[in-house]
């Protein structure tokens, strides 16, 4: 196990910037998720750490040693690919044993380690099967075992569950989390699914257009998005255009603390941060969706602004009825950045 540091790492393809110079420190044994939409540079960053792409600039430091221009086979990293990338002409045992054979371990040692790795991922007894005889989830478990058996210092996972169904994804990510905690292996996990990142990560790195938008714990990222992009990308956020004047923001009937200079700004309120009160902003409910534990109301203010509100089931609402809302917590963004966040009120 080891720490990982990126210092000014960037990547250009034919003069197009895929990753702008960025720096990031990942502690020994930490699980960090790189989260962002397609084309945000997260997979390119992971491939640079794995050695499959050479950085255009910067250093990739593993346990203090720069490996930026070291071949993948010489790096202490192991990668789980989205496509599983199992070798279809080898059975499960040979897939997992291949790296150990290259290290010239004894036959007995290889057998012991392979069987242990397969047990760890819940595939004991599957060692003679060919990849085509396994389900997608089982194939990905083999790919994970193939990496873990080598005891890498850094485990890299590139959207490993993207091709699996929701139920299997949830189960596998829980298993990966348990294995990662058990082995205390430093792990970098690329995903575009925010629920996956929020459920798995010790810290999340949100990326957009080749740059880091925000680094923080899942709670911090969700509760305190530093940029309008993060606010929109993580969870649901109502973005209401308005203006700051005299220390207060006025937007679609809301009149709230702003605490910074006058001018146009965007008021941001999460659907669960509304309270139903007797005085406040009145909106008309257009549609109600039952999401199990709570209701989701899609409403509209008189000025046409759409507002999404989460309501507990003690506040039954019907389509066509009106709601009077105040914000328990809000943030304000100007030019995409957040200069103000209110403290939650009871």
């Amino acid at each position: 196990m080891a720490s990982l540091s990126l210092a000014g790492v960037s990547k250009e393809f034919n003069k197009m910037t895929a990753v702008s110079p960025l720096s990031l420190d990942i502690a020994d044994g930490e699980l960090v998720c790189l989260l962002g939409p397609s084309g945000s540079g997260k997979s390119t960053l992971l491939r640079m750490i794995g050695g499959f792409e050479a950085p255009s600039s910067g250093q990739v430091l593993i346990a203090g040693q720069d490996v930026a221009h070291t071949r993948p086979d010489k790096r202490p990293t192991a990668m789980v690919f989205q496509s599983h990338a199992l070798w279809t002409h080898m059975n499960v045992f040979d897939n997992v044993a291949f790296g150990l054979k290259l290290r010239k371990l004894s036959k007995a040692a290889i057998e012991t380690k392979v069987m242990e790795a397969l047990e760890l991922v819940g595939l004991g007894g599957y060692h003679k099967r060919m990849p085509r005889q396994l389900s997608g989830g089982q194939q990905q478990r083999v790919a994970i075992a193939r990496c873990l058996v080598l005891e890498p210092k850094i485990l890299l996972m590139d959207e490993p569950f993207a091709s699996l169904d929701q139920h299997l994804r949830e189960r596998l990510r829980e298993e990966v989390r348990q294995i990662q905690r058990k082995l205390k292996i430093t792990t970098l996990f690329v995903t575009h699914a925010q629920d996956e990142a929020l459920a798995l990560a010790d810290r999340i790195v949100v990326m957009s257009m080749g740059a880091i938008e925000q680094v923080g714990t899942p709670d911090d990222i969700y509760a305190n998005p530093q940029t309008q992009f993060v606010a929109n990308f993580i969870g649901t956020m109502n973005m209401i255009p308005g203006a700051v004047s005299g220390g207060r923001i006025r937007a679609s009937g809301f009149d709230l603390d702003a605490g910074f200079s006058d001018g146009p700004a965007t008021l941001a309120i999460r659907p669960e941060d509304f309270a139903i009160t007797e005085t406040g902003t009145t909106v008309l409910v257009k549609r109600v969706v039952n999401l199990g534990p709570f209701l989701l109301a899609e409403a509209e203010h008189a000025d046409g602004t759409a507002i999404t509100v989460h309501l507990d089931k003690t506040h039954p609402v019907r389509e066509g009825s009106s709601l009077t809302l105040t914000a328990k917590r809000h943030a304000i963004y100007r030019d995409g950045e957040k200069p103000y966040r209110s403290q939650p009120t009871a």
Binding site: A78, M79, F81, L86, T88, F98, G99
Partner: protein, 271 residues
């Protein structure tokens, strides 16, 4: 009755008749002649069956000499073609170099010309190099014939190998050479096997190049068959050799199916 006629797939029947007339009928005729001792007009079938001409053909030393020459030539040409073309195919599939597309297309363009004219111009060149009438000359001309197949098919096979599979092998510690040997090559092997087999069979039956460059000193089976058909009054000699020439390709195809499995063999041929 009208419904039955309507249900008939007329274009299918026309196509079947066409295939029977132009493909099956000539083959059947050759087979019949190979086992015929007497066949007089107007009898539809031979009047006397037998293996007499098989014994006559097989006891001729020039037949066996031509057979071994053909097998040896095919094996040498296939091996040389593999040594030259497989690394080139890998380079076309996995590397970037100037003129890549041009070279790739040039192999196709070479086959777009009338084959016989191309071989004649090469034979003229060989004349100045004293290669006409030599074994080496026949090897070279037949080798040139194999390039298209032995580059295009393996190139497609190497391109079809998942990059992620190769990267996964590198990731667990395999050097580029080991990645090629343990991952890329086994993945591409069915298609390469099919290309090798087809090269062997094509070379075995290659006639124009062997005739223009090798005859009369280098005598291959197809050349012998041609001379027997042209020079012998007895039809059976040519028919027996035709059937005999059909056997090696059948054996090779059956062997390939057995070794590689029908699925992977078909995959290798692009199915």
């Amino acid at each position: 009755m009208i419904g039955f006629i309507k249900r008939l797939d007329w274009p299918g029947y026309v196509l079947a008749l066409f295939l029977i007339f132009f493909i099956l009928l000539p083959i059947v005729t050759v087979f019949l002649w190979a086992f015929t001792e007497q066949w007089f007009y107007p009898s539809v079938l031979p009047t006397k069956w037998g293996l007499r001409y098989w014994f006559k053909v097989l006891e001729r030393p020039d037949v066996w000499a031509a057979f071994f020459t053909s097998v040896q030539l095919s094996a040498i040409v296939t091996a040389l073609s593999a040594v030259i073309c497989l690394p080139a195919a890998y380079a076309f599939a996995r590397m970037e170099f100037p003129g890549k597309q041009f070279f790739m297309m040039s192999f196709l363009m070479g086959n777009a010309f009338p084959r016989f004219a191309l071989i004649i111009s090469i034979a003229v060149l060989f004349l100045t190099l004293n290669l006409v009438g030599t074994y080496l000359g026949v090897v070279i001309i037949q080798l040139l014939n194999t390039i298209l197949l032995m580059i295009w098919l393996p190139t497609a096979a190497f391109q079809a190998v998942s990059r992620n599979m190769e990267e996964a092998a590198m990731d667990v510690g395999a050097s580029p050479l080991r990645v090629f040997w343990h991952i890329t090559l086994p993945q591409a092997l069915p298609a390469i096997g099919a290309a090798l087999l087809m090269t062997f069979v094509w070379t075995f039956y290659e006639t124009e190049g062997a005739w223009l460059v090798g005859a009369p000193r280098v005598q291959t089976m197809p050349l012998l068959m041609m001379s027997m058909i042209n020079n012998q009054l007895v039809v059976q000699y040519g028919a027996v050799l035709s059937v005999a020439l059909w056997v090696p390709s059948l054996v090779a195809l059956l062997l390939a199916r057995r070794v590689m499995g029908s699925d992977s063999f078909a995959k290798g041929l692009g199915a």
